[in-house]
Amino acid sequence: MEVEVVPVQGELNVGPQHPGSGHMRILVKLNGDIVEDCELDVGYVHRAVEKLGENRNYMHLIPLVERPAILDSIHMNMGYVMAVEKILNVDVPERALYLRSFAAEVNRIASHLYGLGILGIFIGHSTAFMWGFGDREVWLQILEALTGARVTNSYIIPGGVRRDLTPSIIEMTKKAIVYMRKKLKDWEKIFLKNPTIMDRLQNVGVMTREQAIEWGAVGPNLRASGVNFDVRKAEPYAAYSKLDFEIPVYKEGDGYARTLVRFEEMEQSMRILEQIIKDIPEGPILADRFLKQIPPIRMKKWVQGQGRIVLPGYYASFRPPRGEAAARVEASRGELFYYVVSDGSPKPYRLRMITPSYRAIYVFKNLCKGARYADIVSIYGSLDYFPPEADR
């Protein structure tokens, strides 16, 4: 008797109402358990940030640009402000640069923990999910004490930062570092060395060095494929040129390597934080040019009294000179690029932002081909793809 093998083909419409899709739709073409093709239908959380950017004042844009990735808002903010500063041609005082790095690294740890939590729940590990969100809280509280908000901090403004570091925040950070180092050991035991997690991530979604460059992967995903590229080293901004840290690079290019890169980046971020606490210079936190515009009463009460910048109202509608500028920062998920064109009015003529998750869409689509159906979620999680950030 001859057995006829019927190829089982079909399409699965994963999302947008699906526990494993996020804010998007994944059209999966299956052949048995193998994904033949995968179409990503993104744009469900498109907020037209770029178009809105043409209708808002420069200052009013600061809260807007950080909305696409509220869990990474310091970086979203910093890239934009750096581009605006280039047009304004303003020098940022050193203490403000250190504070920017400080906030950025705290945010990076929080964002990586979020990503690891999402990766955990995607492959069924609910403990990693809860731990990721629980441990993230420690860092969010530091951000809250420093900036006044857990997420959407709007901390960085053209010329400097809004608030100064206080001894209590330094104390909090030191405690948080001790706690996190202890906790990372537990993470390693229950998550990294867990046989189920290793099986689900190793040799899954393998991206070679060439592919990573060709597909335009950025950040930890690129570094997991053996490319040593980090904007903090390649084109140092904030205080990174004065700080000593390493860039973790792995050659394997699979989901496990991407996870390991994130883990080690958290450790490096804590090293950076320790150096900042030790080395941070005294001085103003806003450029002289803007500091002079603050009326004396406010200066005394807020800036000298509480270390907060409270600017006069007209600062919100400043007119930068004509010009264009590009800036890039290493956000938690990778290189974040801003391009701002000014025509001399209080509103930008054009604002372009290319977010790291946007670059991950093509990588995700390519990695899914030939994977198993269950691997889609582990690729998704290991890329740390965040749909709102991609849609902007």
């Binding site: 699965l12 494993g20 492959i123 069924g124 590990h125 979620v377």
Partner: protein, 353 residues
């Protein structure tokens, strides 16, 4: 007159066919245990995960009543029947599923009945097992109960597939296909593990195995391990939560169900897990021995509940394997291991027992 009536009621209440199947450890106890297990599962996971878990429904009881509240909410929520399905089959499928998973209670021996001194002693002659020398406390007395339990449990996946087929949802069907693949592998494991113990003790009667007095986990630890893994796969516990994989398949075969029908589908796997745990307690942990009567039944159920709690606790330790990894694991590593346990069983049974 009243005394007569009371003793009549007492006679029928404690009649093993009623008591074991409906009261303890059957339907009623299982219902309470189900809520307790889910409560424990959530509470233990919360403990590991730096959370509080269920709390607000009854603060003094540690949130235990939250499950009752959830159950009430499910009872009164609307049952949505998707367009284009056969409504009768759609409603009947989860009921059949639960029915099949609960059936083995009828034949699992939970204790022995001594000739005197126990509430069950009046039924001694009706449930007398000549091979054991005692009466056997079971719903239906049969000396092939091991075979019957395994046969009943192995029908369970068929009803899962039936249910998925009826709902006509793609995720459900993918889940059902996964269940098909897995059921073949875990049934083979459980069957061989059980058979190796049966050969070892030269019997297909659980009561005889327990009354030997030597727990199976000592004489055949490999079979015990295989049985536990098979049980975890069979009842979709972590790390083999492959059929219901939430982030991949929503909730697998049960995707289209809502309200009370959904509760029934959820209960199926928990009841299945409890049945396997009871069988495990009998086969490998010495069951009720050395007790008898009601204390024996309680002792054996206690062991089974511990195992049930252990298997739901794994949720907070493990992630989820992929289907091909689970299949490779069970056929490449566990299947040869189960053959070794079969050989061990044969040898030990021939030489020692």
């Amino acid at each position: 007159m009243i005394g007569n009536l009371l003793s009549l009621i007492r006679f029928y209440f404690f009649y093993p066919s009623f008591f074991v199947v409906i009261i303890f450890p059957g339907l009623l106890f299982t219902g309470i245990l189900l809520l307790t297990t889910i409560w424990f599962e959530r509470k233990a996971a919360a403990r590991v995960q730096m959370r509080v878990g269920p709390y607000y429904a009854s603060k003094k009881l540690g949130g235990y009543l939250q499950l009752i509240a959830d159950a009430l909410k499910f009872v009164f929520s609307e049952v949505i029947i998707p367009a284009g399905v056969n409504e009768t089959l759609f409603v009947i499928a989860p009921i059949l599923l639960l029915l099949v998973s609960i059936l083995p209670f009828a034949v699992i021996p939970v204790s022995v009945i001594p000739q005197s001194g126990s509430v069950f002693s009046i039924y001694y002659h009706d449930f007398y097992d000549p091979n054991v020398g005692y009466g056997v406390l079971a719903g239906i007395f049969t000396c092939y109960n091991l075979l019957l339990i395994l046969a009943l449990e192995s029908i369970y996946p068929i009803f899962v597939i039936f249910l998925a087929w009826v709902t006509n949802n793609r995720f459900a069907i993918v889940g059902a296909v996964r269940e098909t693949f897995l059921s073949v592998s875990y049934d083979a494991l459980i069957l061989i593990a059980t058979l190796s113990v049966a050969i070892e003790y030269h019997t297909l009667d659980l009561a005889v195995i327990v009354q030997k007095g030597i727990p199976g986990v000592i004489v055949n630890p490999i079979a015990a391990f295989i049985f536990i893994v098979g049980m975890l796969i069979g009842s979709s516990r972590f790390p083999f939560d492959i059929v219901e994989a939430e982030t991949e398949l929503v909730i697998g075969p049960y995707t289209e169900y809502s309200g009370f029908l959904f509760v029934l589908t959820m209960a199926g796997s928990y009841v299945g897990n409890f049945i396997y745990s009871l069988v495990f307690a009998d086969l490998f942990l010495g069951g009720w021995y050395p007790f008898s009567g009601l204390p024996g039944a309680a002792f054996m159920t206690f062991k089974a509940v511990l195992l049930l709690f252990f298997s739901v606790f794994l949720r907070s330790v493990y992630g989820r394997y992929r289907i091909d990894q689970a299949l490779r694991g069970s056929w490449k590593y566990l299947f040869p291991l189960s053959l070794i346990s079969l050989i061990t069983g044969t040898l030990v049974g021939y030489l020692w027992l």
